[in-house]
């Protein structure tokens, strides 16, 4: 028993070390955000917060239109999230619970393409978006993200596991239309999985970088990530400003994460959230 307790101590010690390593870069980013830029030039790096936070936040909003960027990110991530949940619940329900010719092969296409790197299609996607006249506009980021293979896969899984067959059959016997079955029987049953998908989708959309960087104009309509990359691109060398912006950009997702930590963890443990 005594030996067991000692092991416990070592385990907690190791976990604590990992926890500190997880948090330190974020903490340090916050420390720098609260300092004057000159503090970074000292031989001993600052490890405790200073009193310049508000001033730096003010400077971020002066230097780039960070409100606009935040607003854009919110519009993009919000729309993409709502749409993914709705559309993929519908598709997932159909793939899991309805019978129609071609269903299985169509679903195989979904799985297959989910494994292909998005970068493979980025040049033609740019051409498609150009044909539609969407360069530099939020539509370019929103519309291609309205639904994804991963979301469909996730909701199909949910529909297979969480909807009792008896309930569907009973509904059918009572003469419910398929739309009615979906809305009144399936949706309530898969709500928890839909909530997890919503969180994961929001975080992924908020953090997306490669495609927004290509198709959005950093001066016109940037998302937060694109605005951040502009702050880092050598036009500015004020590091405390840069990390203040980084801290601000991370904040919404961190808050969401802290509020819903248990659900996010459960979602990931079910094999979700791709990179």
């Amino acid at each position: 028993m005594a030996a067991r307790e000692r092991t416990g101590f070592v385990v907690y010690g190791l976990l604590l070390a990992v926890g500190i390593a997880s948090i330190f870069p974020l903490y340090w980013s916050f420390v720098v955000s609260s300092k004057d830029n000159s503090a970074l030039g000292e031989t001993t790096p600052p490890l405790l917060p200073g009193g310049n936070l508000l001033e730096n936040v003010g400077k971020v909003f002066e230097t780039v239109d960070f409100w606009l960027a935040m607003q854009n990110s919110l519009i993009v991530a919000g729309t993409v999230t709502v749409s993914n949940v709705l559309l993929s619940s519908m598709a997932g329900f159909a793939f899991a619970r309805l019978r129609f010719p071609g269903r299985d092969s169509l679903f195989l296409v979904v799985i297959g393409t989910a494994m292909v790197p998005a970068q493979l299609g980025v040049i033609p996607l740019y051409l498609v978006v150009g044909e539609l006249g969407w360069y530099g506009r939020l539509e370019a980021v929103i519309v291609p993200g309205l639904i994804g293979a991963f979301s469909v896969f996730w909701m199909r899984q949910a529909c297979e596991e969480a909807i009792p067959s008896e309930l569907l059959d009973a509904g059918r016997v009572d003469g419910c239309s398929t739309a009615r079955l979906f809305w009144s029987v399936a949706m309530p049953a898969i709500r928890p999985q839909a909530a997890v998908l919503a969180m994961l989708t929001f975080m992924t959309a908020w953090n997306d970088f490669f495609w927004p960087l290509i198709v959005l104009d950093p001066n016109e309509h940037p998302t937060v990530q694109v605005a951040l990359s502009r702050l880092a691109s050598g036009y500015f060398t004020d590091y405390s400003l840069m990390l203040t912006a980084a801290t601000l950009g991370v904040l919404p997702v961190i808050v969401l994460f802290i509020l819903l930590a248990r659900k996010v963890v459960d979602g990931v443990m079910r094999g979700a959230l791709r990179g």
Binding site: V18, I23, P25, R99, L106, T113, V116, L120, P124
Partner: protein
């Protein structure tokens, strides 16, 4: 009557998916092949069929091989230690713990931080003169490292960012798999007097091998697409060259440089295809490697 209704509903409910996915997902994937066979200016469009011309040039392009080498080097440096660390971390999290969710959440936290923020913060941590990393090295009596200009050091720095963001995530995947290993196997091992270490390698690891294979494949595909971390690590700007001597330019950055910096869409599409072939081949190779590990059940 019901059958027809169900069919119709099936098509209607999946229609938004077909349309959106077809136009913005599948079509671009296929169309890349067509673009790759042409001289194609990103803005001016198709300027002539060249067949495999782009690929022929690409296979003689020193910058391409440089980017390929960097990508594989960073991939290996980040993935191997990362997955081993994740395995160890999962074993720790698998013990009966107080405040279980707190520990799990704290290891997952880095994963929800955007790559851009990660790259910005780590770029400062790895700064040559005043960075925290070099300061810490100084505390233990080591010389400061020039993390940006040295090829190997820059690969290590970028790998650390990748590891920081993904180790906890993979640990949770392993943890989930570990928790479904039947208890009887552990009881049997205990009866045989196997040590904790022995039990871990002979029972736990083989039992979760499918999950390990999955993480290896996903890390391979993700690792070969690496873009934001090295791109933002370059303090000379975001043109995508990855340092003055391209010492940390990855394939995805080269694709970006060619396609969106020089507007050579045909060439960039060819890079995209080779990138895809490499990741598919590499993923398959790694997958079979993992499957063959420990004799194959």
């Amino acid at each position: 009557m019901r059958r027809t209704g169900e069919r119709l509903a099936g098509y209607l409910m999946t229609a938004p998916f077909y349309v959106l996915f077809g136009v913005f997902g599948l079509f671009p994937l296929l169309y890349t092949a067509w673009v790759a066979l042409h001289h194609w200016h990103l803005i001016n469009g198709d300027t002539g069929f060249t067949g495999l011309g782009n690929f022929a040039v690409l296979l003689q392009d020193a910058h391409f091989y440089n980017a390929l080498f960097n990508t594989v080097s960073i991939f290996v440096l980040s993935t191997v230690p990362q997955l081993l660390a994740a395995l160890g971390l999962a074993a720790l999290l698998d013990r009966p713990l107080r405040a279980r969710t707190l520990w799990r959440a704290s290891v997952l936290l880095p994963n929800v931080v955007s790559v851009v923020a990660v790259a910005l913060v780590f770029s400062q941590l790895f700064a040559e003169d005043y960075g925290v990393v070099n300061w810490a090295l100084g505390l233990v009596g080591l010389d400061p490292v020039d993390w940006r200009s040295d090829r190997f050091a820059s690969h290590v720095a970028v790998s650390v960012m990748v590891m920081w963001r993904w180790t906890g995530y993979n640990a949770l995947l392993y943890l989930a798999a570990m928790q479904s290993v039947p208890q009887e196997r552990y009881d049997a091992a205990m009866l045989d007097g196997a040590s904790r270490w022995r039990t871990f390698w002979s029972i736990t690891v083989p039992a979760i091998r499918p999950t390990i294979a999955f993480t290896v494949v996903v890390s391979t595909i993700g690792g070969l697409q690496l873009f934001a971390e090295p791109q933002l690590f370059d303090d000379t700007g975001t043109n995508g060259t990855g340092g003055a001597d391209r010492q940390f330019q990855t394939l995805a950055m080269y694709l970006y440089e060619k396609g969106f910096g020089e507007f050579d869409a045909g060439y960039a599409a060819a890079i995209a295809w080779l990138l895809f072939l490499f990741s598919a081949g590499f993923a398959l190779f790694n997958f079979s490697l993992v499957r063959r590990m420990r004799g194959g059940e």
